[in-house]
């Protein structure tokens, strides 16, 4: 399933509203400030704070 590249670039951290970056193997987004990783599961970016992994 396609993920729009532009969307990936402009998504923000739902907690701090800051920028996030895609992980090198494209399995999630990292927010450095909050030290959270939001997963991409099955092609779906999961932008839910309570599903994010602490890193």
């Amino acid at each position: 399933m396609a993920i729009d590249r532009e969307l990936l670039e402009i998504l923000r951290c739902p907690q701090c509203k800051g920028g996030i970056r895609l992980t090198p193997n494209e399995d999630g987004f990292i927010c450095e400030k909050c030290r959270l990783k939001y997963p991409i599961r099955d092609g779906i970016p999961v932008m839910l704070i309570d599903q994010a992994e602490k890193i």
């Binding site: 399933m1 532009e6 402009i10 923000r12 951290c13 932008m47």
Partner: protein, 315 residues
Amino acid sequence: MDTQLVTGVAGFIGSHLAERLVAEGHAVRGVDCFTDYYPRADKEANLEGLRREPRFELVEADLCETDVAALLRGVSTVFHQAAQAGVRRSWGKDFLSYARNNIVATQRVLEGCKDARPARVVYASSSSVYGDSDDMPLRESSLPRPISPYGVTKLAAEHLCRLYTVNYGVPTISLRYFTVYGPRQRPDMAFHIFIRAMLEGRPLEIYGDGSQTRDFTFVSDAVDANVRAMTRGTPGEVYNIGGGTRTSLLSAIDLLEEIGGARVKREMKDAQKGDVRHTLADVTRAERDLGYVRRVALKEGLTREYLWLKERLGK
């Protein structure tokens, strides 16, 4: 290419709407936060067809927290179907979820639209805004006086839509759905409950005396109204979307027995607080301004829902 945004895309109406938009050649961005109001597996099943479509993308996000601007990027129409649905559970401490997911979430979408300036915002409202009224059929000018907290939250969000139109020119259209039914109907809704009980050989529990009536609207008619609202209708306005198949619960059960080919046992229970007695929509405005046409009659619609649930339950 312009994108259409469907919130609540994993739900009953949202998933059908997204499919229709994709079929018509649109790129569709869907968002859903998969609340646990009913099983995630049901919602994933709703999305099965869409997940295979290259022009469909899905974001799992909570409208009360997410970056709405990102969701709205490149979007020409916002179909705001996401909500905490269900009249019966809107009492007590469960109300917080209704206030949050119906009022706050809508406000966040509208605030985002203030800046993003989509061409249209179509909001899924509800006949619950009317409450128990003697004005039958219900017209959009009838005084809305909800008798459930759920109805209050849907009405509040409707008012937010209108005032963002009036104050900021966000072009909103609110559609007051009258008891939508059909394949993928939520498991807390009457026909789904009844059909499941029939298929599983259990008696049907009926709240009240069963003579309460509803203006049932088949899902494809509701979807059609949304698509028409993309380009027609007056921003800031509200339109009744009713199926024109006003039927009592008992009559509907008779119909289900015909469809299912077997009689069922009926168990009468006390009427529930917040349930209205009757609904019937006057759809003159929707016909005139949206070109709304009701196409699916009750027996056909119920048959489709029956067959869908039969297959989903593997019966």
